[in-house]
Symmetry: C2
Subunit: 352 residues, 2 copies
């Protein structure tokens, strides 16, 4: 039995995750998975009404769940950063979700903005460190609001933190890798402290994974390579901020936010799964938002809960929807958000 905390959040969050829940409920009934959902209203509405972002009692309650399924947070009425930091980053840090897993996978050739790339050319995974680096929140101001102002922001890498993410990435490459190969991405030629630690950690950990090919790219060079030769990547491990940047680039080469998924994982605690896209307030409530990323996030959650077979089936259904153009208008179809969800469940049924 698994208890799932369900946070639809803002904007299109509710609409798109509803389709993920449809798929999860279908499996639940069919296979008696014992999934239970409880909905939490966090996001702009609550914040604007009560001033609460993520109150302690909600945090304490969330601790009793097995996983979190999140839609999107963000609202034009709220200053940018408040909800993202107060909910998304807060949960990542509170539950020590040190792994941010971001598959970069092209599902349909015509989605790709790059010339001449085939499906198999864009199929790798970024493993992003998710709890430290320059996201630590450490820093300050000196002489604020004067011409002599100085602001500092600390990038902090701990050996423990870097070791565990690199180890996870090696294990991941070994288990799921096509080759398997692990590429570390850093800026060690300039960040001679924080990324010197990364370099040493990678080399030492690599000794235990001689069966995994090992490669290195500087962050500037990797953006070029991702555009020119994405086929050379299998698994990429990197720090928090560089992971943030290159996974968005990755989302774009896999066809845009419509398909991009993010797992915030702590293998020993509560993991959180979300589509990468935002709350898209401009199209919220119109039943036209693309739910595929939310459904793929549900699939990733299934995998984390030990249901790999059902995760595979879900991904296969998404591919079928794409092949048959049973998709929303943003990616070239004509269906509503709900219709896409229904089609996916129908496809799963007929594949049974």
């Amino acid at each position: 039995m698994s208890n799932i905390a369900y946070i639809p959040g803002d904007g299109i969050g509710e609409e798109v995750t509803r389709q993920g829940i449809k798929v999860l409920n279908y499996f639940n009934d069919l296979h008696q998975l014992g999934l239970k959902f409880e909905k939490f209203d966090l996001g702009a509405e609550r914040y604007l009404k009560t001033g609460d972002i993520l109150p302690d009692d909600v945090l304490n309650k969330l601790e009793t769940f097995d996983a979190i399924y999140l839609g999107a947070v963000g609202d034009p009425r709220v200053e940018p950063g408040i909800l993202e930091k107060g909910i998304l980053l807060k949960l990542r840090f509170y539950f020590d979700q040190y792994i941010n897993l971001r598959p970069i996978k092209l599902y349909k050739e015509e989605f790709c903005p790059l010339k001449g790339k085939k499906l198999q050319d864009i199929d790798f995974t970024v493993v992003r460190e998710n709890t430290e680096g320059i996201y630590a929140g450490v820093g300050g101001f000196l002489k604020k609001d004067t011409p002599d102002e100085i602001a500092t922001q600390e990038m902090i890498s701990t050996r423990k933190g870097v070791d565990r993410i690199i180890k996870y990435a090696f294990e991941y490459a070994r288990e799921f890798g096509k080759e398997p190969k692990l590429t570390v991405c850093d800026k060690s030629n300039v960040l001679t402290y924080a990324h010197n630690l990364w370099q040493r950690a990678f080399k030492e950990m690599g000794q235990n994974y001689q069966d995994v090919k090992q490669d290195h790219f500087l962050v500037d060079a990797i953006t070029m390579k991702m555009v020119r030769n994405p086929e050379i990547f299998d698994v990429v491990v990197t720090c928090n901020i560089f992971g943030d940047i290159i996974t968005d680039l990755g989302a774009e080469i896999q066809g845009g936010m419509g398909m991009a998924v993010s797992g915030n994982i702590n293998p020993d605690s509560i993991s959180m799964f979300e589509p990468v896209h935002g709350s898209a307030p401009d199209i919220a409530g119109q039943n036209i938002a693309n739910p595929l990323a939310a459904v793929l996030a549900a699939a990733m959650m299934l995998r984390q809960l030990g249901e790999s077979r059902l995760a595979d089936q879900t991904e296969k259904a998404v591919v079928t929807a794409l092949e048959n153009n049973m998709i929303t208008s943003d990616i070239g179809g004509e269906l509503s958000t709900d219709q896409v969800g229904d089609y996916l469940v129908k496809t799963l049924k007929s594949n049974e």
Copy 2:
């Protein structure tokens, strides 16, 4: 009269800058510009022989010049980072070259890795802060080489440093902008100290430039936008590390390192101009390296020295070479490095 310090550096550096010098000498003779070149042997050879990277007496001597024309540094026999930091970064910091100017311009449609982009779609300039941020070199280790090790790396933004680069970028947009529009790229939703300062500085400076459209992108989102809709950019201003990353991505969408140019500028002191590509030791000495970026760097130097008309003529000659396929094999031609240089001079002559 202008004295140019000429640092060919390592690998292909000498071959490619020789073509830039050819062009400069041609103009020099024709227009009596009074350019004088003095060559400085810095780079791997000298370092390996003497241990010197950039000795003080060389630095002192460089101070007497008007500009520096640099090829490339880096050699497989030298640990990565040593020469880049000891020469490139050292010069940027020593001469306080706080502006890193990187035009992102597509010169030939077929060079572009993106689908459906025309020449005019990829034509913007990144203005990168070049003397602070996380490049400050400030940081340290605690409990080094133990499992409890912590490494820190400080991102330092000063109001003075951020103000001056944003001001330059606004002025640049006003003078050269197509629209004109200035986009600031940061991660202010997470870097609540360093990039909060950036946000405030941008907004305040923007008051003085109401005629310049003003826009903002988070660094992760801008990588997507650069791939999807590069046509929306005119001038982009950003911090040191994000500039490093997005200008490499920019180089790729403009057709790869073969065309990318970098100006390290201090309007009141000595500026340095270089092709972005590395020393490419694998093809060094074969007279096959592509000299166009080095020639475009020479053009940028001419512009900085007040010779805009000659800079324009040089860029036009490069376009002619591309149109007539009078280029090296890496970008689809059959000429040698030297032949490209000769062709450019011939073209300039016939355009006279």
